[in-house]
């Protein structure tokens, strides 16, 4: 099956440039790409704001200190970069119902939000257990040929492919 590629830049070229970006960024700052720790720091910041006593008691927030660091700005920057890139290429579009989702579940917005929320919740539990996400284990891990990276990425796909099979099993027309 041919994927929908019109209007997009080559994933090979963009991926290669991402590799160069990793190298330059690493050389300048010593930091590797990652994203899921940022969710812990954000949760810690929110808890510190609303219930400081609890936040100070939790060991995980002592291990991963709440606050804004290189990676937090990196994840925030991703959003900014994508925003301007979509604006300049006239591909910015407010939408919450992706095509493949609509084909399977219709135009139910509430359902999409419930799936997205629970998916995010489950994904981060897994990522924190595994020690990283497709950025930290996927890009940084595989690039460094880390054993943890290969184990995790294989498991990401194993879990993802199985779950996607069950989610899209019924009347899969696309």
């Amino acid at each position: 099956m041919k994927p929908d590629t019109k209007g997009f830049w080559s994933p090979y070229v963009c991926g290669f440039l991402t590799g160069i970006l990793v190298i330059v960024s690493l050389w300048l700052t010593g930091k590797f790409f990652g994203a899921s720790t940022t969710m812990v720091r954000s949760a810690g910041m929110a808890e510190k704001l609303f219930r400081p006593e609890t936040a100070e008691r939790l060991e995980y927030y002592i291990k991963i200190q709440p606050g804004i660091d290189w990676q937090w700005m990196f994840v925030f920057g991703i959003m900014i970069g994508s925003f301007f890139s979509s604006l300049f290429s006239r591909s910015f579009k407010f939408t919450a119902l992706p095509g493949m989702w609509q084909k399977r579940f219709g135009r139910n917005l509430k359902k999409r939000c419930v799936y997205a929320f629970s998916g995010g919740f489950i994904a981060i539990l897994g990522a924190r257990l595994a020690g990283g996400c497709p950025s930290g284990h996927g890009l940084s891990g595989l690039m460094q040929m880390a054993v943890s990276g290969y184990l995790s990425v294989f498991s990401f796909f194993l879990g993802g492919v199985l779950a996607a099979y069950f989610i899209f099993r019924k009347r899969s027309s696309s």
């Binding site: 930091k31 991703i78 900014i80 994508s82 890139s85 539990l125 879990g159």
Partner: protein, 175 residues
Amino acid sequence: MNILLYGMITGILFGMLMQRSGVCRYDAQIGLLRLKDFTVLKFMLSAVAAGMVGIYFLRDQGLIELNLKPALVAANILGGIVFGAGWALLGYCPGTASAALGEGRWDALPGMAGMVLGAAFFARLYPGLKGNLLVSGDLGKINLEQLTGINHWILIFALFILILFLFRFWQKNEK
């Protein structure tokens, strides 16, 4: 220059590359998990191929240090599978959720809210996990060279060939 500014600029460039190649779309992410569209993997493996060479070159010159995450066999595999299930429900991973939101896909917003809440929940589970599941099958911070005893440049070359073979396979199958 300020380390935070470096993070922001690196993120902006990475966000642009993901947006322009379309890898942060739900259809591309789920397309991969349904084994219908390999765009995301083409992007990832191209980055890995270029990154591997640069990282090990700089490391050999003594200019950077590797930062390997510990190989925790049980946690990596179990956590990985759980992550995959959540990924399939949401349709974005943490990095691509941020990029998706940037291009107007606001279904990433409840997804990110779920992630932050999930992280807070994990902070509660952590004391119970750190002594057992998180340390079972701990091989330490090792790479494939340390695991196999094969020189890293030979491994990089072998992975390069494997990646090229995959690219060729996908290109053939998409015609």
